[in-house]
């Protein structure tokens, strides 16, 4: 039983990363109709930025947790203004290709500067050790990630559903033309929302730094899993993306421990789930039906 709790907890923690990345993808897609391939690269930049800040400037984890998302959010906004913006009126596939190219560039930039080997990042002192939950104890840092992510997701939900900005973003996501007709300047929110999504990816990266190996390719394969997550959840649905993120984290963790005799299955379980969802509900678990094609 304690093994099950352990697996479930670890699944929720890795699900937290999927949820943060999927959330960013979903808000960006909702507002701009852009599927950002470079999301994994920004996650990597978040982790790398934290590492460089610590080793070259002695900036601690807590400061990096604030600095990197802000810096990457600004970089994202600049990027949206400079290039992505030019393609948003075209087929979304063009921006998919553009951000794919950006991914290769960002990865290679970091690779040429810092090499491909992984760098360790120490867990902040306040979060080392473990928390005792009576029957089991879990590493404090992981408990922190889980709590922090859940709080963040609740916060985003609150902003989207309870504030005026959230109302505009939701309206612009569902019916952009109609929202404009009501005299709301939708364009004004496009760049900040893009920056916010990128900031979330950077935040996930900083959170990942003490837990996972920091290297230029850490976001490369992750982003494909996150794509599968948003297909499962329904990319148009913000709640669906977060729920699918945690769900896939759980399924993966259970698969890895209970199907460890079949490594092929446990490695690919995400994609198998995606195939089942496509058969059963092609629009995703929480997605709306597309216009018939």
């Amino acid at each position: 039983m304690s093994g099950f709790a352990q697996n479930t907890f670890n699944g929720l923690v890795s699900g937290a990363f999927y949820a943060l990345l999927a959330l960013g993808l979903a808000v960006i897609f909702g507002m701009l109709r852009v599927v950002n391939f470079a999301h994994g690269a920004f996650y990597m930049l978040g982790a790398f930025g934290a590492y460089v800040l610590l080793t070259e400037a002695g900036v601690p984890f807590w400061a990096a947790l604030v600095i990197m998302p802000l810096a990457l959010g600004l970089l994202g906004m600049a990027l949206e203004r400079a290039v992505i913006h030019r393609l948003t009126r075209l087929d979304p596939l063009y921006n998919f290709l553009l951000t794919f190219g950006l991914t290769l560039i960002l990865q290679d930039l970091v690779k040429t500067r810092y090499g491909v080997q992984s760098s360790p990042y120490a867990t902040p002192a306040a979060l080392s050790g473990s928390v005792d939950f009576g029957l089991f104890d879990f590493p404090t840092y992981r408990v922190f990630i889980l709590g922090f992510t859940v709080l963040l997701c609740v916060g985003v939900w609150w902003v989207l559903s309870r504030t005026r900005i959230g109302m505009v973003v939701r309206a612009a996501t569902e019916r952009p033309e109609l929202t404009r007709a009501f005299g709301i300047d939708v364009g004004r929110w496009v760049t900040p929302v893009f920056g916010f999504g990128i900031g979330l990816a950077g935040l996930a990266g900083v959170l990942a730094a003490p837990m996972r190996a920091v290297n230029p390719l850490m976001g490369a394969d992750l982003i494909i899993v996150v794509f599968a997550v948003v297909v499962i959840g329904g990319l148009g649905s913000i709640f669906g993306s977060v729920a699918a993120g945690f769900g896939i984290g759980l399924v993966q963790a259970w698969g890895e421990s209970y199907l460890s005799d079949f490594p092929i299955v446990s490695q690919t379980i995400v994609f198998i789930v995606m195939a089942v969802v496509l058969l059963w509900r092609p629009a995703g678990l929480f997605g709306r039906e597309e216009a018939p094609a």
Binding site: D91, L97, P292, A293
Partner: protein
């Protein structure tokens, strides 16, 4: 390209690429002259380039044409075509190593395996369109990548398949120069097949589905089945390229299944010109040649350059080479007639 999401932005998407129609509408002598010139260049190629590079160009030409068959003529952007290219490379390599068959038989086996794999992937993927189709194909290709990575007893994992033979009835094809001419007929057959598909009644229906899926459905065409058939045919042609690539390199590594390979194939098509078929061949020649030149000159960050090309092409050059030339030729033709 059709988009899954019915947004007003779709109304502003560029007119469907029409390179094919331009060439088809060109006078007969222009088409025959282009065909003859293309064949002459193909025959001359290994004299002007390193034969190994010329072999790669042929393989990538097939790959690009297979992607364009979907992207340009069916309106589906497959971002997971490495699954078919790579599966065929592995199957071809395994058949060539273990069965000792002549290499064309091994390549055929590989391409058939790719086509068989394309059936379930295509069946699931055509349930979505637009950007979702790209993400779904990408994810399934990654599934194939992980399977190959884990199934080490067969694929040799990170080490790859080594020593794929170039067996052909005892002929000595170890020299890339002769190997190029040995595979040229197969590649030309594959390209001719693609041309035939596009110009068949079946191909016209595909273009109809690309431009107006709702109308195609209303006219009674089983849209999903047409898309799936196109997907499987495309997987077969990609498989031909991948199999030849494996024999050409005498080595198969996991790279052939990686998503960067899928992405490279798409950008080769965009560079050459979406929906132009032969544009992909040009794009393949340019990208393969450039990458060879970069790695030869000791430049390490190839991704920086290919990524930069992606960005520039998508931002400034969406018509691609063939599309731009065709547009120029059309304007010139119109001006002359006045």
């Amino acid at each position: 390209m059709t988009s899954a999401v019915d947004t007003p932005a779709d109304a502003a998407r560029p007119a469907p690429p029409s390179g094919l129609l331009t060439v088809a509408r060109a006078p007969g002598w222009v088409r025959y002259a282009l065909l003859a010139a293309g064949l002459l260049v193909a025959l001359w190629l290994p004299n002007g380039l390193y034969p190994a590079v010329a072999v790669d160009i042929l393989c990538w030409a097939l790959f690009a044409v297979s992607v364009d068959l979907l992207l340009g003529f069916t309106g589906l952007m497959s971002f997971g075509h490495a699954a078919f290219w790579g599966t065929s490379a592995y199957v071809t390599g395994l058949v060539a190593i273990h069965a000792g068959l002549p290499f064309p038989a091994a390549v055929l086996a590989g391409a058939l395996a790719a086509a068989v794999l394309a059936v379930p992937i295509g069946y699931l993927a055509v349930k979505r369109t637009g950007i979702y189709f790209a993400m779904v194909t990408l994810a399934f290709a990654q599934l194939v990548y992980y399977v190959a990575n884990e199934w080490r007893s067969v694929t040799r994992g990170e080490n790859g398949l080594q020593g794929v033979p170039r067996e052909f009835f005892g002929m000595d094809l170890t020299d890339d120069f002769y190997f190029y001419y040995a595979i040229l007929p197969i590649v030309l057959l594959g390209l001719a097949a693609a041309w035939r598909i596009v110009h068949s009644p079946f191909g016209r229906v595909l273009v109809g589905i690309r431009d107006n899926p709702a109308r195609a459905r209303a006219l009674g065409y089983p849209v999903h089945r047409y898309k799936l058939t196109a997907f499987v045919l495309s997987g077969f042609i990609a498989g031909l390229g991948g199999g030849l690539f494996a024999v050409g390199h005498r080595f198969v590594s996991l790279d052939v299944l990686h998503w960067t390979t899928s992405g490279k194939a798409v950008i080769v098509v965009v560079l050459g010109g979406i929906g132009t078929l032969w544009g992909g061949v040009l794009g393949a020649a340019i990208v393969v040649r450039l990458e060879d030149w970069l790695s030869f000159s000791g430049f390490e960050a190839i991704g920086l350059v290919t990524g930069g090309i992606f960005v520039l092409v998508v931002l400034l050059f969406r018509r691609g080479i063939w599309g731009s030339v065709a547009a120029l030729a059309r304007r010139w033709g119109v001006a002359r007639r006045r």
